[in-house]
Symmetry: C2
């Protein structure tokens, strides 16, 4: 079918459709709304897009997304650099930073071990983690990986690497998400929440 | 709250949030996904954005969105230029073109008469419609305006303008949207569908 839109509008629609959660209809609606925005907004956005794609790169220490050599978290002297939160990708770091209570630093693995996808321990940022930990006096790791087979495998693998190396390692707790309706939860989460229950009075 | 994102990422998020149906969370997800797109996609998009905003303008005949002096519909000799579909804005034209069965041309009012918003007949593209109709031999108007107070007012006003001027005027039919569940329909639509019922056998 030939498009009913002018060509440049079509290209904008095509781009929006590549974004997560954006279907044909939403992309069209967004593209038409885009045209109604002030020209300044559009020019700033279009410059920032290209700039962001060019400038943003992994922090040379932790792998987090940054526009400088070292990210603001690794550069912050008030953070505890002995406490490393190991995460799958930089999106997790943004999530923790928004929650706002973590005072340590991060280490981005950029993937998880997944034999089925042919991703081994050497394909993710593990050797740099070992080096970082070895350079610290009182290293402590928090493994914040998702509770999938790949997440579990990677967690166990990291635990094994640092065995007998005097590194304190913990993992995130499993349980009910805050505000979740018990009867809508999947059985595995409910099982975990039950077996990991916390005593609040004895 | 200070943002957890690098500055250029923040600006991208801010832009996405201006689009319809995009909240904080979606904007973040979309911005992060944007960074993962190939640099070519981003450059093409960012150029097209500025280009579209600069190049697209109303067709000098019908007011439809176009990148040439006259839109492809007005320039098309195979369309019936005596049959003018009067619409509120250019989005309606795209909707009809997608439906694909209308062989006439359009006239974009760019608004509807709305006394409550202080929008009078002289504030929408009505005088150009009168001129267009007067230049035609056998003009026919289809009023395709929404069924709001403003749409009704504008429909009646246009009907009045062309009274005793030998112009055939029709309006879109009201009724059930295709596929709609009867019991979910609003009462006014159901009433209309009932009173405008169509005899299919006598």
């Amino acid at each position: 079918m030939n498009s009913v839109y002018p060509e440049s509008l079509d290209k904008i629609i095509e781009f929006y459709k590549k974004l997560p959660g954006v279907g044909e209809k939403s992309a069209e609606r967004m593209a038409l709304a885009t045209l109604n925005l002030p020209v300044d907004d559009i020019e700033i956005f279009s410059n920032e897009l290209v700039k962001a794609k060019k400038d943003l790169h992994p922090c040379s220490i932790c792998g987090n997304l940054t526009d400088s050599e070292i990210c603001t978290i690794c550069a912050n002297e008030n953070r505890d650099h002995n406490l490393i939160c190991v995460i799958e990708d930089y999106k997790s770091a943004f999530a923790f930073e928004k929650a706002g209570n973590f005072r340590g630093v991060y280490h981005v693995l950029n993937g998880l071990i997944s034999p089925i996808d042919d991703i081994g321990a050497e394909d993710i940022n593990l050797s740099s983690l070992v080096k970082r930990v070895e350079s610290l006096k009182t290293p402590e790791l928090i493994l914040a990986l998702k509770s999938s087979i790949e997440g579990e495998t990677t967690t166990l693998y990291i635990k094994k690497i640092f065995e007998q190396k005097n590194v304190k390692i913990s993992r995130l707790s499993y349980g009910l998400p805050i505000g979740a309706e018990i009867d809508y939860l999947d059985m595995t989460t409910l099982d975990k929440a039950l077996s990991d229950r916390k005593v609040i009075s004895e």
